[in-house]
């Protein structure tokens, strides 16, 4: 690989933030490296400084406390797969982790990195959106927490100020009896970029849908919540016509494009198919 950058490997978060802030827009944080180094090699990214976060202690790990799951930003995709807590509280996240790239990438790619890379096809993001996850950002002036669904501002752009890092990802443990699932439609089963990703989270209370969250990947400039579809189901009985209307709404509110993997037309149709399928599965499971 060739690139003209300096590399700093700070030992503390404060040093990292300082180094990134000083570097401004041309400074890039490095976690697992599975996106950043690919982009540097292909000259899509030409940083002057790379700040490797790998030596900062305490950034990796999964805690469940007080009805809340919290991930350290450097928690890897493999960490998610190995965690009993995640298996118990976030099955959709496990499903997406299982089909996330290949083993070596899963061993290094981090949750924060997947969120921060801003790819519409970032596979962990739809399940996290469906869990109503929040991200904590830390910069020179301190920390702030915002909803993941408010994090993205456009294609590959987000709320982070220069120097700010994602320092935690958290979500409330879903209520008992709620259901979560993720489906990745791709051109092959293993190690593929997603054509359409759909995550659904919902519960059933007295025969009605509650806490409905539907998140979509690869069908808009950023991973997105299908709010209209959610609204059509929230508080309603999940009868087939209702589910079909919600699925159609999800297909209408996304904005997929044509690329080498599929056309926008196909993607839109698949959103409808998969949203209906996942909601139906949830209802049948519940």
């Amino acid at each position: 690989m060739y690139g003209e950058f300096d590399l700093t490997i700070p030992k503390t978060l404060q040093e990292a933030v300082k180094s990134l802030t000083a570097g401004g827009k041309r400074a890039v944080p490095l976690a697992g490296g599975t996106n950043v180094l690919v982009d540097v090699r292909s000259q899509r990214l030409a940083p002057e400084r790379i700040v490797d976060l790998g030596r900062i202690g305490g950034l990796r790990g999964i805690t469940v406390d007080g009805g809340r799951v919290t991930l350290g930003p450097r928690t890897t995709v493999s960490d998610l797969l190995a965690s009993e807590e995640i298996a118990a509280t976030a099955p959709a996240l496990v499903e997406s982790a299982r089909v996330f790239a290949g083993q070596m990438v899963r061993n290094t790619a981090t949750v924060a990195g997947n969120i921060a890379c801003g790819s519409p096809a970032a596979d962990l993001v739809p399940p996290l959106l469906a869990l109503d996850a929040e991200v904590t950002l830390t910069g020179t002036t301190g920390s702030r927490t915002l909803a993941l669904c408010d994090f993205y501002t456009g294609y590959k752009s987000d709320q982070r100020a220069p120097g700010e890092l994602i320092t935690a990802i958290g979500w409330p443990v879903p209520a008992k009896g709620s259901f979560g699932s993720f489906y990745k439609l791709a051109r092959r089963k293993g190690d593929a970029i997603t054509v359409v990703g759909v995550a659904v989270g919902l519960g059933l209370k007295g025969g009605r849908c509650v806490g409905v969250r539907i998140a979509l990947g690869s069908v808009a400039p950023t991973p997105m919540r299908a709010r209209k579809a959610e609204g059509l189901l929230e508080g309603e009985a999940p009868v087939p016509e209702r589910i079909a209307r919600a699925a159609l709404a999800a297909a209408q509110e996304c904005s997929p494009i044509d690329d080498v993997r599929a056309t926008g037309e196909y993607r839109r149709k698949m959103v409808e198919v998969l949203v209906a399928r996942l909601v139906n599965n949830a209802v049948q499971t519940g």
């Binding site: 690989m1 060739y2 690139g3 003209e4 950058f5 300096d6 590399l7 490997i9 490095l30 697992g32 490296g33 599975t34 180094l37 690919v38 540097v40 090699r41 292909s42 790379i50 490797d52 790998g54 493999s78 190995a82 299982r98 790239a101 290949g102 083993q103 070596m104 990438v105 899963r106 061993n107 290094t108 089963k189 293993g190 190690d191």
Partner: protein, 162 residues
């Protein structure tokens, strides 16, 4: 600007020294030190040919900066076994025809070893998921699956995995 730095790398149990710029990947650094059993296939994490163990876990050495790997325990295929005392995976890959052109073999065995350290008795599905980041164009993976399961059985018997 990128300045060179002299670092120590611990490879297959031995300390080695390299003077390298920040952009040098672990793949390039290892090959530069003569560890050419680490193969370059795509340089972007799509093929797995360059996999090495870093602190016991398989990573793509093409997606790791060498300076970042300083002080970590790095194991390449040659570090797993010698011709006199081959690792069970090396033995089974050779005997069961799991290596054809052999170019994916180093990464494939490293990924398999990384799996077996965590999961000594993987199901077929678990094995396929674990090897999905290692492309092979010769074998259709069939004999690779056989070889990994055969080695896993040997390792369970001899207690090489716990």
């Amino acid at each position: 600007m990128s300045t060179e730095k002299t670092i120590n790398l611990r490879v297959n149990g031995r300390e080695e020294t390299a003077t390298i710029p920040p952009h040098r990947t672990l793949l390039e650094a290892l090959r530069g030190l003569g560890h050419v059993d680490v193969k370059c296939g795509c340089e972007k994490g799509d093929c797995g040919a360059c996999a090495v163990l870093v602190d016991g876990e398989a990573v793509d050495s093409c997606l790791t900066l060498a300076q970042s790997a300083e002080g970590r325990e790095i194991t390449t295929l040659q570090g797993l076994g010698t011709p006199e005392a081959p690792h069970p995976l090396q033995q089974s890959f050779a005997e069961l025809g799991a290596a054809q052109c052999g170019y994916c073999t180093p990464g494939m065995i490293i990924a398999s070893e990384s799996l077996l350290r965590k999961n000594p008795a993987p199901s077929d599905e678990e094995l396929r998921i674990a090897l999905s980041g290692n492309l092979c164009r010769c074998t259709g993976y069939v004999k690779i699956f056989e070889a990994v399961q055969a080695a896993a059985a040997v390792m369970r018997q001899t207690g090489e995995t716990k």
